[in-house]
Subunit: 121 residues, 2 copies
């Protein structure tokens, strides 16, 4: 599929898709004329990438991580080296802390929202 369709199906801008490619996160075949041609699996991949971005990982780390993920269609393609694993463990801890922060903040919001709601009741 072409970049426009991929953008539509993932909700990610064409700009970002090209950026992902430049960062080594995504590859595409090319038509004779040079237009990108993505396999269907690109949709899932782009969504994964977005999730990892949302989790606060930078493209550098995502690029290291991607080949070690087992893709939908089977086997784990590559095993993470110890250096990378140490890094991922640290990221994992950061993510846990962030989740805790998010939950606390969400509770705060709920509190304020509820206070306003009960006020107007």
């Amino acid at each position: 599929m072409r970049i426009g369709e991929l953008a539509r199906r993932t909700g990610v801008s064409e700009r970002s898709l090209r950026y992902y490619e430049k960062q080594g996160l995504l590859t595409a075949d090319r038509t004779p004329g040079g237009h990108r041609d993505y396999p269907d699996s690109a949709v899932d991949r782009v969504i994964r990438i977005q999730e990892l971005f949302a989790a606060g990982l930078c493209s550098r780390k995502i690029a290291q991580l991607l080949p070690c993920m087992r893709d939908a269609d089977g086997g784990p393609s590559e095993i993470a080296g110890s250096r990378l694993v140490a890094d991922l463990v640290r990221e994992r801890e950061r993510i846990d802390r962030t989740i805790a922060d998010l939950i606390r903040s969400r509770d705060v919001l709920d509190d304020v929202i509820e206070a306003a709601a009960s006020r107007s009741r």
Copy 2:
């Protein structure tokens, strides 16, 4: 307490504390010479602010939100207006989505970490 101590106790840089003040998130008395003097309660407040930042809220919204939070020492100081509430509800939804993303990403990391661990076992 002075800004240095507050920075030490919260783990937030002096730079950021001054920035928070400029954004209206934090207030401080001044000594005759112009140095900031914080009450003990500033520690909790700064930590809250950090959590909200970590949750992806911008300083503008945090500034609107803070007066509506009930502080440790008691009553809800102000009730959010309907405009603000609508905004907070949207933020809440975004936070929920982010949490979901974080959890999925954490699972991915665990997967990769585990694959490497079982490999070397």
